[in-house]
Amino acid sequence: MSFLPLALNTLRETIRDKILYVILVFALMMIASSVLLADLSLGQQGRLVVDLGLSSISIFGLIITIFVGTNLVNKEIDKKTIYLILSKPIRRSEFVLGKFFGLSLTLGVITLAMSICFFAVLWTTLRGMGTDPFVWFPTSAMALSLIYIEMLLLTAAAIFFSTFSSPVMSAMFTLGLYLIGHMSYDILNFGKLTGQVMLQQVTQALFFVLPDLERLNLKNVLIQAPVSMDVFGSSLAYGLLYIAGLLVLSMLIFEGKEF
């Protein structure tokens, strides 16, 4: 558990980053703007608040992850502080874990702040409509949990990419992974459409290797039909296992890295 001080230090470091606050303010403004848009929605206020709120949290979470996550490791290398850290009785793998958990805590705090704003807006809107505000709360909370898991997965990916590439490249890789992760089923379907066995096997292999981020995306289905705990639990487990896999890979690469 020697990575804990490092995690807390990372939390302190990232929370002081001013860009974080700018992004957070934008996110809160986006969530709150749903109140204005709701009036134009012809009786669909609740839906609009939920969709806009969840999408804003997800998109701004992604921006924070890419901005902060891809810089975490390289900043230490550029500032040469990594020599100072690694000279202490701390393993390289613990350094990676510390960075990951530190940013996870930061993202947790930010997601919590955005979620409080989101629930407040949802509460106000649904009360105004005369609907029971608690109807959508549990389902929205499930979607938010999986959005947070998706952020963690992308954090792990950002750290993984930054162990062997520059911040710009790892930002691009992480963004690419996010986009492709939401298209993994389409890739599989493209393979099927070609009708060629070889391409089908390639797309299937890609489908298994790439993260299936649609499994962590309940935003589109939660409103009408709450998902079962089985689906939610398996999606949660999938996300956590993928994160663990990425962290193990990051630690392996970082162990062999020369500065």
């Binding site: 609009l48 981020l213 589109n220």
Partner: protein
């Protein structure tokens, strides 16, 4: 301090300049341009690829756009050419957007072509949201009010009545329309529905009303059965006459001179001809009135003013 003041003052002409350029741009925009030329929606299957998991959010944006588009086209008094495209895209991105399916039935009810497209959207809704009773209910209204297709409307209302949490209304509408379809089998279906409504009526008043509907439907079914038998009777007589003529020609005999009457003198002849097992009596145990002239069968006056039955068609007027 002076620098700050200068900076603050320089903001004023800058803001004025920006405002002027904005006004210039606005003056060049043709706000009266046909709204249909400004709509450009990517095909839903491609759009779905580009939403990256934010399908419901993009559907909401399109929903807001749709409302603006409808309003603009309404005020410009131009046909709303893109409504189907909007609804199709919205419901492809978010298949659970129930309101989009329902509103399509209202907004696309202008002409037959639009109504058919709206029915396509509603059929998609029925497939995507099999639990919703409102979607087939809306379909029923479109069939009935816009296409005047009583049978399809009744079928849609019947489907709506079978959905979970459906209120009584679609079932009653289906019963009403099935009875109006002038078909014995559907009339029997209607009778069953009215009987269910009667059994389920919670209050005395509603029970009484459902009872009247049930009895009137019973009368309608009996009359339709009798009218069908009368029509079959005429057909059988005609066929028999043709056979007799053919046989006499074949056997080189003199052809029969008088064709058999295609009109029975009493309803009992329908039973004798094997077309009915027995002559039905109305729910009050009274016989139906048969008028040979004009081949009419009517019910005797009811104890109340008929609710469902068209008096001229079904009920004899007291002399």
């Amino acid at each position: 301090m002076l620098t700050r003041l200068l900076l603050a003052l320089s903001f004023v002409p800058l803001a004025w300049g920006i405002h002027q350029s904005h006004m210039e741009v606005r003056s060049k925009v043709d706000f009266k341009a046909n709204i249909n030329q400004e709509v450009n929606i990517a095909p839903p299957q491609y759009l779905q690829l580009l939403t990256f998991g934010h399908d419901a959010f993009v559907a909401d944006i399109l929903w807001l756009q749709l409302i603006q588009y409808y309003g603009a086209a309404y005020y410009q008094d131009v046909p709303q050419e893109h409504l189907y495209r909007y609804f199709d895209t919205i419901t492809t991105l978010d298949p659970d957007f129930e309101m989009a399916y329902l509103i399509s039935g209202f907004l696309m009810a202008d002409n037959k072509k639009q109504v058919e497209l709206a029915l396509k959207i509603l059929a998609k809704g029925e497939k995507n949201m099999p639990e919703s009773w409102q979607i087939p209910h809306q379909e029923g209204f479109l069939y009935y009010l816009q296409l005047k297709d009583t049978l399809k409307a009744a079928q849609a209302f019947e489907r709506a009545s079978k959905k979970p949490n459906a209120p009584e209304l679609p079932s009653l509408l289906a019963a009403q329309l099935y009875r109006r379809s002038n078909d014995v089998e559907r009339c029997v279906l209607s009778l069953r529905m009215w009987d269910n409504a009667y059994q389920a009526s919670p209050t005395k008043e509603l029970k009484e009303r459902a009872k009247r509907h049930t009895l009137e439907t019973q009368i309608a079914c009996d009359l339709l059965t009798l009218r069908k038998a009368l029509s079959d009777y005429a057909n059988i007589r005609e066929q028999r006459w043709q056979t007799q003529l053919a046989e006499s020609k074949k056997n080189k005999q003199r052809p029969p001179t008088n064709p058999p009457s295609a009109v029975p003198s009493t309803l009992q002849e329908l039973v004798n001809a094997g077309l009915l097992r027995q002559i039905p009596l109305d729910p009050f145990g009274r016989p139906y009135i048969y008028r040979q002239q004009g081949l009419k069968v009517l019910a005797q006056p009811l104890p109340w003013k008929p609710v469902d039955l068209k008096a001229t068609d079904f009920v004899s007027t007291p002399k």
